[in-house]
């Protein structure tokens, strides 16, 4: 029924908000999304706060870990 009516939920609302793996989850997600070079470039040219903000804009559910994650990207 839902398929015929084209009813679909937004997976952005699915969040794992604690558990201890969030920092590594976020790093994995950044790498898999291909955004790591962009964040590293912002980190180098504009600093940690700007890089963290860019990360937060894309990964709001893990936002608290962005500041750490962007400095740990290889």
């Amino acid at each position: 029924m839902s398929k015929e009516m084209d009813m679909e939920l937004d997976f952005d609302k699915l969040e794992q908000v604690s558990g201890g793996g969030q920092l590594q989850d976020l790093i994995n997600r950044i790498v898999n999304s291909g955004k790591a070079p962009e964040y590293k470039r912002i980190l180098k040219t504009q600093g940690k706060a700007a890089a963290a903000a860019a990360c937060c804009a894309d990964n709001g559910d893990l936002c608290g870990y962005c500041a750490a994650a962007v400095t740990m990207l290889k």
């Binding site: 029924m1 839902s2 398929k3 009516m5 084209d6 009813m7 679909e8 939920l9 937004d10 997976f11 609302k13 699915l14 969040e15 794992q16 908000v17 604690s18 558990g19 201890g20 793996g21 969030q22 920092l23 590594q24 989850d25 994995n28 997600r29 940690k48 706060a49 963290a52 903000a53 937060c56 709001g60 559910d61 936002c63 608290g64 870990y65 962005c66 500041a67 750490a68 994650a69 400095t71 740990m72």
Partner: protein, 288 residues
């Protein structure tokens, strides 16, 4: 199969899928579009006598808490619950013993839409799902085992004693995160939040807070970071060890002053004690 898993799968049918064999697309059909899985089997789970479920009452409302006694079941369930977004192959770290997560409740959506004529359901779907509380559940999923991988001998307890205390710490720790997310929406500081959650957990389990126990959990020995959970929350655990230890002493003083208080009531004071001036980045939306 444990009735706990059966009840959980009835509300969240993605649990019938197997993250080792089913694709992310299969998960997305179930989770995002509400389609029924082709087969409703829970054969990939082992079930355990320790599986249990409760509705916990907290200062921030009721929370569904599920404990799965078998570690593999915990990992399979968590992978399935997050597979639509993260993919079914996401690895659950060995260090992760619990999770607080949001899940869509499609049975509630279907039941609501069934009250409407078919031609009105698409519009009603949009209206009903515009309100997050109508269809998004908060679920706490717990495993069992020594908390923070600290063994019973190090704690000076028997295996059974430490397992019981670990269960209590873990439960109160996760519920503290739920409460903080609801009562301090958008305010996330990873180390502060973990110190507060551990403090509530330890106080609930033991009736007191010992900074030395918390240092064991975090991986701090003789004032130095030697590897442990603290590294999960920051890129500079060595630099922050001193600040963490100072925060733990403030927490100890607060808990001593408020001995006898119900554990969750300590949270506001602990949020101040554990504030180490971390870069607090506001999340974009409330996380219930």
């Amino acid at each position: 199969m444990s009735s706990v898993l059966e009840r959980l799968a009835a509300d969240y049918p993605q649990l019938y899928l197997n993250p080792d064999t089913d694709s992310q697309e299969a998960y997305r059909r179930v989770v995002l579009r509400g389609e029924e899985p082709e087969a409703k089997s829970l054969a990939h789970y082992r079930g355990d006598p320790a599986d249990r479920e409760e509705i916990a009452d907290t200062p921030a409302g009721q929370v569904r808490v599920v404990t799965l006694g078998n570690r593999q079941d915990f990992e399979l369930a968590l992978r399935s619950l997050m597979a639509a977004k993260d993919g079914p192959e996401a690895v659950i770290p060995e260090s992760q013993g619990a999770a607080m997560l949001t899940v869509f409740n499609w049975p509630r959506i279907h039941a609501h839409l069934a009250l409407y004529p078919e031609e009105e359901r698409a519009a009603e779907f949009k209206r009903f799902t515009a309100v997050r509380e109508n269809y998004v559940d908060m679920l706490v999923l717990l495993s069992r085992g020594p908390y923070s991988h600290v063994d019973a001998a190090t704690m000076g307890e028997t295996e059974e004693e430490w397992l019981g205390h670990s269960d209590a710490i873990r439960r109160f720790h996760e519920l503290t995160h739920v409460i903080c997310r609801r009562q301090y929406p958008g305010d996330v500081a990873p180390i502060r939040d973990e110190l507060v959650a551990d403090a509530v957990g330890l106080y609930a389990a033991y009736g007191c807070f010992d900074p030395e126990t918390e240092k064991l959990f975090l991986g701090i020995r003789d004032g130095r970071y030697v590897g442990g959970r603290l590294g999960n929350y920051t890129d500079r655990p060595e630099e922050l060890t001193g600040a963490v230890c100072a925060a733990l002493e403030r927490i100890r003083a607060t808990v001593e002053k408020q001995a006898g208080t119900e554990p969750f009531r300590l949270i506001p004071a602990l949020m101040k004690d554990a504030d180490m001036g971390e870069t607090k980045t506001q999340t974009r939306r409330n996380t219930p």
